[in-house]
Each structure stands twice: as structure tokens, then as C-alpha cells.
Symmetry: C2
Subunit: 298 residues, 2 copies
């Protein structure tokens, strides 16, 4: 039976009051219940409200990362199609154009979203295995695109007799790709192979999380230095085709905007990863005992 109850629960901050009182009404107040019961109910409402707000903010950030990521992919494709002549696999500059497209798509956008996927609150109450497989699958696709992106540039260098791996961009880029491959392999061995001891998993987890964020940051370092380098290469003063980079022609502004979008994507993803409230709850001691992969929870 619903009726007029006692005064609504106290709010922890003024801004919560409107929504909290709304939730309070939703949860209901029983005139027959004593004050303690109402307090417990009010506390439950507060917790539900805080959890709901946290989940809503997560999904807004996730949506933002998807949108900014999509914008990065669209922009890098437009840049190489519109201003750099499009794509081919014939050892020409058109083959090189696959390099930025595949690296931005694989090592930044797919990688970032593949990492964030594992934090989706929807998955917390469910069996982890399908989400682990999805996480590993998306990251494998990201790794394959990255390797293809490296093949594009190595093959282009071979065709043009350009030395490999001499610039700082290439040093950071190749190390990032190697770390990414290592992280994927160690992650598979550590978290998906059923006979890996739980104690090893527990020790590996913080390293895996730190390396995951570091690889994204290094990918962004590589992309920004690469786009900057490419724009200096192609927008030179002594060519009649284009204005120099320093005159800020449309291609320069577009390329810089692509770089700014990549940085914005990285900031959103790192914000999601750094929020402790959005980390999957730690397994209980009971979960830490060894369980085969099809039943495991951690």
C-alpha cells in the first residue's frame, strides 16, 4: 500500500536532490514500515541512483569514443583519398596511403574500443568468457590491420629503395606494434588458456592493464608524429602542386584536425580506463581458486 510517508531521505549533495526524491517516489514509501526500514530503503535508493548515474555516464563516454573513433577513420580515409590520390598495392605512393589508414583504424580506433569493450557494465553480471573472447577478437583484428599497415610501408620502402626504420616515428611505431603483439600473446596465455594458475593471472592483471593503456598512448604518439612528418613531406615550398605546410592550406588544416581528433579519442578512452568505478569488480577469494576456462569468472 502506498501513501504519504515521512520526509524523503537526506541527499548527500544539493544537485542529487531532485533525482533522488524522484527515485524515492519510484521506490515507494510504506506508511506501515518503521523508520529504520525506510532508512535502509532510502540508502538502497541512493546506491541505485549513484550506480545508475555512473552507468549512464559510462555509456555516454563509450558513445563518445565510438563517434570520435569513427570520425578519425572517416577523416584519415578522406585525407588519403581526396588529397593523396587514393589507394593501390603497387609499390607507389598510393600503396603508402594504406599505412596511415590501417594504423589509425587498427592501432588506435579498433584497439581503443576493443579495450573499452571489456569495461561495459552490462557484462559484469555475466559469464566473462564471451566478453574475453570478444575483447581478444577485436584486438586480434586491430593487430592484423596494424601488421597490414606495416607491410604497406615496408613494401613501399622496398619498391622505392628507402631505408627502413630510421626515423623516431618508425622507432616508436615498431616498438608499439611489437608491444601490442606481445601483450596480445601474453594476454591469451594468461587469461584464456584454462590451465594458467589464478595466482599468475592476479599478478599479470595490473601489468596487462598498465601495458594496455601505455600501448594506446604510444600508438597515438606514433600517429601524431607520423601525420606531422607526412604533412611536412608532401606540403613543400618547392612544389607547384600545393602550398607549403606553413601557409596552412586546406590539406594541412584537415590533417591537423585528424591529429586533434586522434588525441581527443585517446583522452576519452584513457578517461574511461582510469575511472576506478568502471573497473570490473575484483573476484572474491572463492573465485580465485582454479576453475576451468568455461566457468571462470576472473
Amino acid at each position: 500500500m502506498r501513501g504519504v510517508g515521512p520526509s524523503p531521505p537526506r541527499c548527500s549533495s544539493t544537485s542529487d536532490c531532485f533525482l533522488l526524491s524522484h527515485l524515492y517516489k519510484e521506490c515507494g514509501s510504506d506508511t506501515t514500515a518503521d523508520y529504520e526500514k525506510q532508512e535502509v530503503k532510502a540508502n538502497t535508493c541512493r546506491r541505485d541512483f549513484a550506480r545508475m548515474r555512473s552507468v549512464v555516464i559510462f555509456y555516454l563516454c563509450f558513445l563518445l569514443s565510438l563517434c570520435v573513433g569513427l570520425a578519425c577513420v572517416v577523416c584519415v580515409c578522406i585525407w588519403n583519398k581526396q588529397w593523396r590520390g587514393g589507394f593501390a598495392w603497387d609499390g607507389s605512393a598510393l600503396q603508402f596511403n594504406w599505412h596511415p589508414v590501417l594504423m589509425v583504424t587498427g592501432m588506435v580506433v579498433l584497439y581503443g574500443n576493443g579495450v573499452v569493450l571489456y569495461r561495459v557494465p552490462l557484462t559484469w553480471g555475466q559469464n566473462k568468457l564471451p566478453w574475453k573472447l570478444l575483447h581478444a577478437g577485436v584486438l586480434l583484428l586491430a593487430l592484423l590491420l596494424s601488421v597490414l599497415g606495416l607491410c604497406a610501408v615496408f613494401s613501399f620502402h622496398n619498391a622505392k629503395n628507402i631505408p627502413h626504420l630510421y626515423s623516431l616515428h618508425s622507432w616508436i611505431g615498431i616498438c608499439t606494434a611489437a608491444l601490442f603483439a606481445l601483450q596480445w600473446a601474453v594476454g591469451m596465455a594468461g587469461f584464456l588458456v584454462p590451465w594458467t594458475p589464478m595466482s599468475f593471472r592476479a599478478q599479470l592483471k595490473p601489468v596487462h592493464v598498465w601495458m594496455g593503456t601505455s600501448i594506446l598512448s604510444l600508438s597515438i604518439v606514433s600517429c601524431i608524429s607520423g601525420i606531422n612528418e607526412k604533412l611536412f613531406f608532401v606540403l613543400k615550398e618547392n612544389t607547384s602542386e600545393t602550398q607549403p605546410y606553413s601557409a596552412s592550406p586546406p590539406e594541412a588544416v584537415f590533417g591537423n584536425t585528424l591529429g586533434a581528433l586522434i588525441v581527443a579519442f585517446g583522452l576519452v578512452v584513457v578517461k574511461i580506463l582510469s575511472n576506478q568505478k568502471w573497473q570490473r569488480p575484483e573476484p572474491t577469494p572463492e573465485d580465485m581458486a582454479y576453475r576451468p576456462v568455461l566457468q571462470e569468472d576472473s
Copy 2:
């Protein structure tokens, strides 16, 4: 009275056993105490040992960040002194040389160490205020060096009639410097001005921590893209003075190594910042009540 007690406390892992048994001896075992007391003592020893190990690892990482940071500063000075002709403030290329030195020293090394300073476990049991002031002071010095580094390049551009802020490197760099200045000002207003409400501080803290790490990452993005750009600028094929960048002359390898050191510094600092065990413990609810700056704890 000390004597031979029962068997030492169980170790959580084999590797802990030696040090744990040593600690157990240090803490002592009373034959008159009952089993429960011994268990409590053993648990205290375990906690002390875990805390001590965590603190030792922190100081090793901090020492590493200091050493790698120092190596970055030494290398960027050597590069500009040895290969780029040294320093001046006369609108020439020698004036430009202050730019990488001041940005690496201010926006990366001093900034990174200034941020980590605030996590030193030694400070946890003490009044926060002197450490806050040291944190703010080191970061102010970092900000001043960065602004001086920007003045060096703006003044050089003016002298040579080079447009400002056209490259992606400059876009990311100027935004990073602006965010750094904003973060410092908001940090001062939020955490050092005595009449700032504690509720505002509590809301600001996670944003301040996230922005702090993001600014370091953006500084590294700016430095790597800048060093890469500079090496392409100065190591050209058509100049007789040097070999081209693609031939990997000593300057190229040295510059790339400097870039790799900067990235390594960033990884160490981010590792320190991301370790939740090394975060200053949250204040208790009693501490959250407003207290003037000279007594405050949060």
C-alpha cells in the same frame, strides 16, 4: 618475555617466506600469548611486510624516473650543444635550440617528477600542506620553463618571418601548454585556497588526477613529434654538412635515442601514477569537513 614460539606464520607465496620469517623474528613471538594473539601478530607482520615491499618498489620506480629524467635533460642539452651549435637569444637558429631543451626539461621531466613527488609514501603521515606547496612549486617552475621555451620559438619565428602554429606538433604543443597552465591555476584555486569547499575539492580531485596524466602524455606526444620534425628539417639530403636522416648519421641515432628515453620516462611515471597502492589514502569523513588550509589534510 621472548622465547621459541610455535611455527612461523604461513606465507601467501613461496617468495615471501624468507623475508616474512625474518620479519616474524623481528616482531617476536611470545610463548605466553595464545594462538589467536600470535595469529594477529603474524597478520600484522604480513601487512607490514607487504607495505614495506610496496614502499621499496615505489622508491625504486621513483629513482628510475629521476635517473631517466636526468638522462633526458643531459641528452637534449648535448644534442643542441654538440650538433646544433649551442645556445643564444638573438633570433638565430641558436635561439631555437632553447625550445627543445626547455620543453623537455619543463613540460616532461620537471612536470613528471613534480607530479610523482605528491605520491611519495613518506609524506602520507605528515601535514599535506608543505608537500602541496612543493608539488605546486615544482610545477610552477616547470610551467615557467615551458613558457620560456615557447617564447624562444615564437621569437625565432618572428625573426625569420616563419608563421606560428601551423604544424600538428605546434597545435598539440600549444594546447598542452594551455591545459598545463589551466590545470595549475584550477589546482591552486581548488586545493590551496583555504575557502574552497571540500565538496568541490572531492569532485575536482579525479579530474585533476586524470588531467595530470593526460598533460604528461600530451607533452610526450608534442616532444616526439617535435624531435622527429627537427631531425627531418636539419638532416636533409641536399646539404653537404650532414648525411640525410635516412642514412642514420650519429645525430639521427642520438636524437632517436633521446625520443626513446622520453617515452621510457613517461612509461615509468604513468606506471607510478596508475598504481592504486601508491595513491595517498582517501581522507576519512571527519577530514572532509571544512578546515582551514594550515590544518587541512585532504
